[in-house]
Symmetry: C2
DNA sequence: TTTTTTTACGCAATCGTTCCCGAAAAAAAT
DNA sequence: ATTTTTTTCGGGAACGATTGCGTAAAAAAA
């Protein structure tokens, strides 16, 4: 079965007018008489006419659809960002197509091909942990595709970007750990190449340095797939805990790593914060209900989404090529709870 | 700036052929000579030609886009269902547009209008807690729009449906509570009109009855907005705990209610399961990390999504009107943890 | 050699909408 | 009464791709 919508032709035929007249009447053109307008408008209302967006897209050479590429929508941070994006996109008459890379570079490229082949007007992207080759994105951007990056940005591509103040967030969190008396603070991070990893680890290192603690490279671990695959987190945790000089606290740089860490620690009967302190980036709303309540750094996810879509619409609707790009940096929030002493 | 894709005309002009020849060559028609085909294919590859899906949609009178309407994507259950939907839709060359009602009837209608005006080929819907008037949906369905319901279904509309075995899930959970020694088991539910509420409360009542416990209507509370708005959960909890004969356990019928309940109880210093036991429906992956680890009933969310999109594609791609509809009922899983003794 | 068949391609309509032109009718100016 | 202007509307091309139909040339059959 098909759902057949009314067209402008139906109206024209029923009223004995031409399609041009009907079209103009619907758009309230001055060159249509008030009587004809009334006739058309009333009949359109009656048969519940709505312009076919596909025909419009073809004519206007724009789809009024934007693509959002994230690693996973089930992740609180990303679903909050998407909420922010959709709230504005919706008001502006844009569709949002969401694609998930699940931290795989291959899937990212596939999704990108899919989104562009569906002729999106622009893209909002947070790259996967695996992505080190940006040539596909560069190519797309160079061909004129409007792109806005958020969270995991690509420094080599010059466009609008939206990030949290990862450096300060990590710095403050690490400082807090030090103030609480922790001496050997380990870090578990996404791959080093990722912008957020660099920034957050830089903040971590600076906080250590400012407090006269030498960063021990053996205490800095990376999870290639951001904790998405298998027992990645388990492995690095075992490495950390197997050292002669065990860490007394762990700083994690992403949602999945933070909750993943707590899970593994609990499974192994390691008390938090008794045996080891835990503090990390997380936007999950339920971390305060955890045992122990997690100390976390939160990003203003919804707002990041709103700003990203604002930038994108600006790019899409600009008449002239934009050459002046902004990077919006938003403050993070630190919540100290019971997973740190 | 605009992103201009190559068209069939570009190929035709460059090669001195007609667009029909190019189109046929690309579709490997038998009435095009091998040499011409080779020429066209190679040039198409060179300029990275991809057929314009919008033009195809207009011609084929289908958008290859489906709409998904849920109350909130940040809810684990729904994001898991969406993952299931997208995994299959993607493979079948369909787009997915997601809309959120946030448990508001008005927003639901607005979203429905939006989705149909964007000419989706079909809809997958879980209605909001506020929805009691199904006339808009009925109208849409009657006009030929393929619709599949999941989770919160509409019994009055005859189409494919996918649900968990809510009755059995609730029955088993309540039985478990009784076996654990709980005597006065309260229930906090979404509005009574909602299909899942009816089914889950029916299971709850039957379990009580089968164990010789009379259901006390004062122990059954409803949250009009599913715990989305303000202090709904707080209010019903206070009502429950203010009774002369306090409940010794609470059974909650949805994700938001379950976690909301735990939050309020903890805020008020009420020990779980010491003072009161808690068990409810939830698909959140982190409930085992909670304090206390939550006892939950889980639905096979991903699978529900897969089945729903399967049904929908079947409806969309059927040549003849479908009159024989199925309701798939999937088993739930019970996880007993520390929020019940 | 002539006729028939096959091959290989082009023309034009179509999907729904907009918009540039042209034109008839009505109104205004001469 | 005639010309000019304005109002109001229709014809048709365009957006990108597909497809039924027509046809020239080449190949095959007579």
């Amino acid at each position: 079965m098909k759902f057949e919508a009314a067209t402008i032709k139906d109206i024209a035929k029923a009223l004995g007018l031409s399609t041009s007249t009907v079209s103009r009447a619907l758009r309230d053109s001055h060159e249509i008489s008030p009587e004809t307008k009334k006739l058309v408008l009333e009949y359109a209302e009656k048969i519940n006419y709505h312009p076919n967006p596909i025909a419009l897209s073809l004519k206007e050479r724009r789809s009024r659809t934007i693509g959002v590429l994230v690693c996973e929508i089930a992740n609180s941070f990303f679903s909050q960002v998407i909420n922010g994006i959709e709230s504005i996109a919706y008001k502006s008459g844009y569709n949002v197509i969401i694609a998930q890379s699940r931290e795989s570079f291959d899937r990212e490229i596939l999704n990108l091909q899919y989104l562009t082949s569906r002729s999106v007007d622009g893209l909002i992207i947070s790259v996967s942990t695996e992505t080190t080759d940006f040539s596909y994105l560069k190519d797309l951007h160079q061909k004129g595709m409007p792109i806005v990056f958020f969270d995991r940005i690509v420094s080599e591509i010059d466009t609008h970007k939206v990030i949290a103040d990862n450096y300060a967030g990590a710095y403050n969190a690490t400082t807090q750990l030090i103030k609480s008396g922790y001496k050997r603070i380990a870090a578990i991070s996404n791959p080093e190449m990722l912008s957020i990893s660099k920034e957050r680890l830089a903040g971590y290192r600076k906080a250590l340095a400012d407090n006269g603690i030498e960063a021990d490279e053996a205490l800095i671990k990376y999870c290639k797939h951001g904790g998405m695959i298998g027992d990645e987190v388990n492995i690095v945790l075992l490495e950390l805990l197997g050292q002669s000089q065990k860490p007394d606290a762990i700083f994690t740089t992403s949602d999945k790593l933070t909750t993943g860490c707590l899970r593994i620690l609990k499974e192994n009967g390691i008390s938090v914060p008794g045996d080891i302190g835990l503090l990390g980036f997380s936007n999950n709303d339920l971390t305060e209900l955890f045992d122990p309540a997690l100390s976390v750094i939160k990003q203003p996810a919804f707002e990041m989404g709103e700003i990203a879509i604002g930038y994108l619409l600006q790019l899409i609707e600009s008449k002239h090529p934009v050459t002046d790009f902004e990077t919006k940096v938003l403050p993070t929030e630190l919540f100290i709870r019971n997973s740190t002493k």
